[in-house]
Symmetry: C2
Subunit: 408 residues, 2 copies
């Protein structure tokens, strides 16, 4: 299995999160399954980013990673912008204290109602096509408001080894780079506020070198687009892509190395970008490791010599951990018997969810302490793309609870 | 792409479902995305099953396939039992008119509260382990009620070519066949009502021969277990596994061939099973083809020569169609431009969802009529494992609506 993030410790035999024992957290919440998010871990990630990065680089939160309201409010106060992916996320971002001018909305299928709500709230729309730009401009005219429009660019490159490819070749996202100058000129001519570029080329990268190359190429592309347009982008959103190590053998991203190279790349940027702001948009890297999914073992059983620990949770809350969210080969997230934290691993067992489907696996053949009915299982790396990225209604099981700790 | 079920037709240029134009259905519902379920198609599937199968074989509905209340009520009146996979599904089955004695609950991770609710409602519990049987018996004693307990058997075989393997080898489901006789004897000795066996060996099989072999082996196993126990099972649930053709080149299951072979296998059954009832538990085969997922095209865009139609729906409602629900290789479900039903295919395009992730694909490189913003897209085969098996909260997009037609 993957390595448990070093931020976690135990109080005797029990895992703690934010200094509190998980059995006490479950008692406070009322039941399992329970997601616990440690806000202090997020603060540490933000501080690490700020310490490493040039001051000119703004930090945005991609709230699709985790929109839990208390967590979102906590982050909104500490970052420079919120990037949302739907009209309803935009409303949640505004409720969490985000200001229109620091929010941007992306997504290839924005409805007219979402465009008009964004224009009314002064939110920047990352337009994904010429047609969408046209619709946004027309809606702005109807409303008598100047839309804030950035152009999402589909570049000709992507992050090498990225977990998900968001750019390069034919893509539903953004506008092919060669058509961007014409579109930006039309946006400027329309009287809309042109806010700059959104260039997102990949996600879940653990290689600093790959990210450095992608960021350098992104800055070069932004510079050459600006020259072709003959205008400077107010903001260049460099995308995100900072990965976290889920699986055995993976190493954490060297963010400081990325930051040093980014500072150098920005030093050498085209004169057209001299007064531009830059932003990095992070979701998973900020919140992924802060979350732990806690479930209770409801059965311990043997089948053909193999031990199965059956929990009251599963893929309906943690689809990615079950291996069914974009993965080709299922691998084990880090897990632990949270109520036998200090016991040595003593048996090989498989941890499964309560759903009546063979897809519902939380950990295959892992070496763990001998666990019994009633023990708590912790699945780590559950802070990003967890509950909201899972089929919660499947088989109509007990809904998961969520709580935040720390942040005081 | 796969073949559109022959049940569907058009009214001029517009797809109809249950004889009604989809544009009218969307207007009635209020918006897209919209799931429409044609109850008459379900009635036809039930009638086909009844006509083919020996009268002794009962038909159960596996409600996890689709728990939409109106559909569930419709089916509950027309089948012999409802098989549920959680305590909350059990409550929904009772609300839909199911009677406790004809409901059974399966699932490897039943909580104590679910066991006691089932015992109180007179629902049959398919016990999945010795430990669970013990807990159910203890709860029955506390309640002063006789639990109805069937034993789910993990057999040593599975359906060849099954879409999902539910039996054979070490599994979290059921009790290994060789331990079943001991467990049943203990159940009988405890004073609980022993209801028989639940033997579910696979799903989504399109090969009649594979199903015939599996059913024959299941009946033999039930007979030899009954002999070993020295008691006859009141009911043998033969499982389900009837598949439907999602993808290009797949052929529908020959249910009549399965039925004929099943009748012969039952004729030759062990004397210990002479007075046993038999049931087949179907979900996908009953409801999969009755459902159509309707979305609206919100953008039409070109990227590097490739046409993308972006819809207001996506993987958050149709995870399986996006290829992220147990599939290793993504293939296209049958799709159509529902508002250009009679137009010939004139271009190759990809249909994507509105989510900001490259996973959100509804159809890759399909030949379809030239479609525009505002056209409706129909994704067929959306009646089973659709909305409830999808991450509905992901990116907080517009929720899907559901409606039933027909059944009058």
């Amino acid at each position: 299995m993957g390595a448990i993030p070093a931020d976690f410790a135990g109080d005797g035999d029990v895992l703690t999160i934010g200094g509190r024992r998980v059995d006490a957290l479950v008692a406070e919440a009322g039941s399992t399954p329970l997601f616990v998010y440690d806000l202090d871990l997020i603060a540490r990630r933000i501080a690490r980013f700020r310490a490493a990065m040039p001051a000119a680089v703004k930090l945005h939160y991609a709230m699709k990673a985790n929109p839990y309201p208390e967590l979102l409010e906590y982050i909104a106060k500490r970052v420079d912008g919120l990037d949302v992916a739907s009209g309803r996320e935009m409303l949640a971002a505004l409720r969490a204290g985000g200001k229109g001018a620091t929010i941007s909305i992306a997504g290839p299928g924005k409805r007219s109602g979402e465009l008009s709500a964004a224009i009314e709230a002064g939110v920047t729309i990352n337009v994904e096509s010429e047609g969408e730009a046209q619709r946004a401009i027309a809606i702005g005219e109807q409303l008598g408001l100047r839309p804030r429009l950035a152009v999402r660019v589909n570049p000709d490159f992507e992050i090498r080894g990225s977990g998900m490819r968001m750019g390069g070749g034919a893509k539903p996202f953004g506008v092919d780079a060669e058509r961007v100058p014409d579109l930006v000129r039309r946006i400027i001519e329309s009287g809309a506020q042109w806010r700059g570029f959104h260039i997102y080329v990949g996600s879940q990268a653990l290689s600093a070198e790959a990210l450095i190359d992608a960021q350098r190429a992104t800055i070069e592309l932004a510079g050459s687009l600006a020259k072709a347009i003959g205008a400077s982008p107010p903001l260049v959103n460099l995308g995100g892509g900072f990965g976290i190590p889920y699986f055995a053998g993976e190493q954490p991203l060297d963010v400081e190395q990325v930051a040093t190279a980014l500072a150098a790349a920005l030093e050498g940027r085209d004169a057209m970008l001299r007064n531009s702001e830059f932003a990095i948009e992070l979701g998973r890297w900020l919140v992924g490791e802060c979350g732990v999914y806690l479930t209770t073992i409801v059965d311990r059983k043997l089948s053909h010599g193999k031990i199965f620990l059956v929990t009251d949770g599963g893929m309906h809350h943690q689809l990615a951990a079950s291996g069914n969210f974009g993965q080709v080969v299922r691998r084990n997230y880090p897990v632990a018997i949270a109520t036998r934290w200090s016991e040595p691993a003593s048996e090989e067992a498989s941890i499964v969810g309560c759903l009546c489907t063979p897809l519902d696996r939380l950990a295959d053949d892992v070496m763990i302490p001998t666990a019994a009915v009633g023990d708590l299982v912790a699945v780590f790396m559950a802070g990003a793309y967890g509950l909201t990225a899972s089929p919660q209604a499947f088989l109509d099981q007990q809904p998961a609870l969520e709580m935040a700790v720390g942040g005081g």
